[in-house]
């Protein structure tokens, strides 16, 4: 077995040194009749070549995003990641370390976490950020709990154009912890009046921009209204590249910003692992969930970094902790940091403008198809169209023509009868003019 260094001779001599006869003497605490006598019913060990063959066959039965004109978004986006990012994150020193509990021999991890936190704060326009959450949706759930602690109020108000699976995460938490929740109806046309739902019991308002339908939203008025009632504003960003083009939530009055960081450095990977970003104001620090890295000095006065403020965390505070999170998204935050270091402000803004350009051109091209309406007047790289017929069927028919055309809204909100004909379409820098042409041609054929 290529992974196990002990030889049979080693095993024998070690058992003798321990003072037992055979290996099962070391398992004697397992009740006799529960001890497995036979091997479990699974295949025996396999060579690299065999495993590659079997997994390769499974992989071949999927259609990779890079193999077709690809316009699927809704919280995860196909972007190009520079080759150096994947090379660096596979360095043993990063890949095979764990949580930097021993800062003297973990400055590599700690320094990139400090850089990550700074980048996240700058991007979101906030004062501080933590060292990552699992993903955007769980960060959103944690942000609601954080706002409830900060305001000592229970009610959360969720915009109807919050990503439906983010909404599901929050409502699951609210059901199980018996807090109150007001969820506005799904809102592809941008008509909801969220301010009307804010009252003196409201802990927080959760608003996404660009929202799940792609629409860009100014949060300022919602923030002013919320603050007047003593409520906090949680801004959600599922496409973090948008922060290269759009005014950040921190400049529009957000108190907590949560984002999905997948677009920068991480890749699609069928939904995970991703990296959740969570940023807030300095004054709310003590209620922030998750690990944070802070600057300090060592015994020789040299600058260094450590995990800090751990009195918020489960390993110290146990049932009084701000969250139960322990393992987070370490390596994905490294990928994010490296990619963003390569981009820098100039690169990110240019990348964002290409995304926007491609989306605008695609929207105009699709709007020219008979029967198709583009519903989103202002957007970043994603927008919603209405098609004649069921969106699910249209997307399936597009697959037959070799185009991955977007996400039918009905997949995300299966219950809503009146959303059957909506499709959310994303365009990024990976889409070429030919991709757009292929989409227009395929959709025209499907609809005719």
């Amino acid at each position: 077995m290529r992974y196990l260094p002990l030889t049979d001779d080693d095993r024998r001599s070690m058992l003798a040194d321990i003072g037992v006869q055979n290996i099962d003497d070391l398992f004697a605490d397992i009740p006799e009749d529960m001890r497995l006598k036979e091997l479990i019913d699974l295949p025996r060990h396999a060579s690299e070549l065999e495993v590659e063959r079997q997994l390769g066959e499974m992989a071949a039965r999927n259609t990779p995003a890079s193999s077709a004109p690809f316009f699927v978004g809704c919280g995860a986006y196909k972007h190009h990641v520079p080759a150096s990012v994947d090379h660096l994150i596979q360095r043993s020193e990063f890949l095979t370390a764990y949580t930097p509990y021993q800062p003297e021999i973990s400055q590599g991890t700690l320094q990139y976490l400090f850089e990550f936190q700074t980048q996240v704060a700058l991007l979101t326009g906030m004062e501080v950020a933590n060292a990552s959450m699992y993903d955007g949706s769980t960060a959103c759930g944690e942000a609601v709990l954080m706002a409830q602690r900060l305001t000592r109020r229970s009610k959360a108000v969720l915009s109807g154009s919050l990503h439906p699976q983010y909404r599901d995460v929050v409502s699951m938490l609210s059901d199980l912890s018996e807090t109150s929740l007001e969820t506005l109806a799904a809102d592809p046309e941008g008509t909801e009046d969220i301010i009307a739902s804010i009252d003196d019991e409201t802990a927080c308002v959760v608003v996404q921009s660009p929202d799940v339908f792609g629409r860009v939203r100014d949060l300022s008025a919602v923030a002013a209204a919320a603050h007047e009632k003593g409520a906090l504003v949680i801004a959600v960003v599922t496409e973090v590249i948008s922060l290269g083009a759009l005014k950040p939530p921190g400049e529009m009055g957000a108190d907590i910003v949560v984002a999905e960081g997948q677009s920068i450095g991480v890749g699609l990977s069928f939904g995970g692992p991703y990296v959740g970003l969570l940023a807030t104001r300095q004054k709310y620090l003590r209620q922030m969930p998750g690990r944070v890295c802070g600057e300090t000095v060592d015994a020789n006065g040299k600058r260094g970094f450590v995990l800090t403020l751990s009195t918020r965390e489960q390993h110290i505070r146990r049932e009084k902790a701000t969250s139960n999170i322990c393992t987070n998204s370490g390596l994905c935050s490294l990928a994010f940091t490296i990619h963003l270091s390569l981009l820098g402000e100039a690169g990110l803004m240019k990348l964002a403008s290409i995304n926007h350009a491609n989306a605008v051109m695609l929207a105009d091209a699709l709007a020219g198809i008979k029967g198709v309406d583009v519903l989103t007047p202002s957007f970043f790289n994603e927008f919603t169209i209405r098609v004649p017929g069921r969106g699910v069927d249209v997307i399936e028919a597009l697959v037959d023509k070799g185009v991955l055309g977007g996400v039918p809204v009905a997949r995300l909100v299966p219950g809503e009868k009146n959303l059957q004909d909506f499709i959310i379409v994303a365009a990024t820098e990976v889409n070429t003019a030919e991709d757009r042409k292929a989409y227009v041609k395929a959709l025209t054929e499907v609809l005719s």
């Binding site: 290996i23 019913d41 699974l42 259609t63 020193e93 764990y98 973990s106 709990l145 270091s341 697959v399």
Partner: protein
């Protein structure tokens, strides 16, 4: 042989090392590296893009003017991150016996498999017809986990152990609510990992502590004592955080079930018993499995992890969405509570379907090891821990006496009594010797705890060196050279860091003003 300019072989003469300061502050391979904010430039970038085609702006008047993010070119980025990486310890560099964390070798095949475009480059919301292989992979991994654990159902979406704990306890809570028997208390032994009580509290439960008995395990009597009709369940780690198998686990499970409560098993230590016993035979109702521990998906400097949860018949119907269903050769996803025919999912814990990248790596590990290799891995992990115990038992102290342990061995600090050396000092001195310290001060119930988990990945030679080193350190605490400990680490990239200062006056990000001031 290295040659100097004149072509003569260099000799070692006159080259004794000393602490001679350098002009740069660098120490050969250890190179000081500033933050990217101090070396980058907002005008610079390491990614080339074509100019966007001319287009209308539709950003709703919310254009951003500036961000303040520095950029670096590719050679600068490479150097920056390579340099800082060299300040990290890692499994690939040396023994990393961090108890409770299972720092085993991370096979590189697994990395390669996760990067196949068919897994790494598929979108979670692509039509199901285009991701049949991805769904098959999830279904296959689920089946392997069920076979290994002997349980009835599995939730794949939890993102780490703690997220899995929440999943299991949420399913238990939902099951009891559905029966009209909502309860308010969860039993947690004092030795439990902090995530256990934190999880219970997140779900609105009160935590009731269970003390351990003399030998470090939980007694059925103590559990019975604490059980009443308010108790929803117990969260018990097995093998436990003291490295011991809970030998009365079946009696505990029976008592819990008799009281109408459920048994949540924290499976962080599953590596000790894969192929040796099935949690399903032990009366467990839910157990999370840390794929990043037992199944070797890399720890990545703190994550990402993955924490699938297996369930008994009684709890399985309450497992969350999404899940994969197999119909013959076709696979589909159940993504909403409404679509869950006949089941009662407690809801959704995360967007999308879980940590696919970790699933691929874990399955690649499992297929590589197979039923025989996984059992051998558990046996070797347990053997290695006991070998360390045998090698150190006469010089270090064990809180519960010298008894057979599972895959990790626990020492306390009584062997350091009156030496002037603390557990922390001892651990830091291990750093100088080229080892990552063990887990310190956990479990909390043991004074000055040192929890050593070698895993199956260590060779006998590595263990022998580790044991010899620790014996020498123990001797050192008696020889009076206290600076070896109290001043340690002496040879690490950094001396001991001031954690108090970091917490008192938190600086959590770089900012131009604060850092310009500090530089003066």
């Amino acid at each position: 042989m290295s040659m100097n300019k004149a072509g003569r072989p260099t000799s070692a003469q006159g080259g004794q090392s000393s602490d001679h300061p350098t002009f740069t502050g660098n120490k050969a391979l250890q190179i000081e590296e500033p933050l990217i904010f101090e070396v980058g430039d907002v005008g610079k970038t390491g990614v080339d893009f074509p100019d966007p085609e001319p287009h209308e702006m539709r950003l709703g008047g919310l254009e951003r003017q500036k961000i303040g993010l520095p950029g670096l070119t590719e050679p600068e980025v490479m150097r920056h991150y390579v340099r800082i990486s060299q300040k990290n310890f890692a499994i690939d560099a040396g023994v990393y016996p961090l108890g409770s964390c299972t720092m085993k070798h991370n096979g590189r095949l697994n990395e390669k498999m996760a990067r196949l475009p068919g897994f790494g480059d598929v979108h979670p919301l692509q039509p199901e017809s285009t991701v049949q292989g991805a769904l098959e992979l999830i279904d296959t991994l689920a089946a392997w986990l069920l076979e290994m654990t002997g349980m009835a159902g599995v939730a794949m979406s939890p993102k780490a152990g703690a997220h899995g704990e929440f999943c299991g306890m949420a399913a238990i809570k939902s099951a009891q609510i559905a029966k009209g028997d909502a309860r308010t208390v969860v039993l947690v032994p004092e030795s439990a990992h902090g995530t256990n009580p934190a999880t219970a509290a997140l779900l609105g439960y009160k935590v009731r502590d269970i003390p351990a008995r003399e030998d470090g395990t939980v007694s059925p009597e103590a559990v019975k004592e604490a059980l009443d009709t308010d108790v929803a369940g117990i969260m018990l780690t097995n093998p436990n955080t003291c490295g011991l198998f809970e030998r009365d686990i079946v009696a505990i499970a029976d008592a819990v079930h008799e009281a109408g409560a459920y048994f949540y098993c924290d499976g962080a230590n599953f590596n000790a018993i894969v192929g040796k016993a099935k949690p399903g035979d032990l009366g467990v109702d839910c157990m999370h499995i840390n794929l990043h521990k037992t199944f070797s998906t890399p720890h990545g400097g703190g994550g990402p992890g993955s924490g699938p949860v297996v369930f008994s018949e009684a709890i399985a119907p309450y497992a969350p969405v999404p899940y994969v269903v197999r119909n013959g050769d076709a696979f589909s996803l159940v993504e909403s509570v409404e679509a869950a025919d006949g089941a009662h999912p407690f809801g959704r814990q995360t967007a999308f379907h879980g940590q696919m990248g970790m699933f691929v790596r874990a399955l690649s590990y499992m297929m590589s090891h197979g039923s025989d290799g996984m059992r051998q891995a558990s046996e070797d992990a347990v053997l290695n821990a006991n070998y360390i115990r045998a090698g150190l038992r006469d010089v270090m102290s064990q809180p519960f006496g010298d008894q057979v342990c599972m895959h990790e061995v626990l020492f306390d600090d009584s062997f350091l009594k009156d030496s002037g050396v603390t557990t922390l000092d001892f651990a830091k001195a291990m750093i100088d010797e080229g080892f990552h310290p063990m887990t310190m001060y956990f479990p909390l119930v043991v004074h000055g705890a040192m929890l050593i988990e070698p895993t199956e990945s260590e060779s006998k030679a590595a263990l022998d060196q580790f044991i010899a080193t620790l014996r020498d350190l123990v001797q050192g605490t008696k020889d009076g050279d206290l600076v070896r400990f109290t001043g340690a680490p002496h040879h690490a990239p950094m001396a001991r860091l001031d954690e108090t200062r970091a917490a008192r006056d938190p600086v959590l990000r770089w900012s131009p003003e604060a850092h310009a001031e500090a530089a003066e």
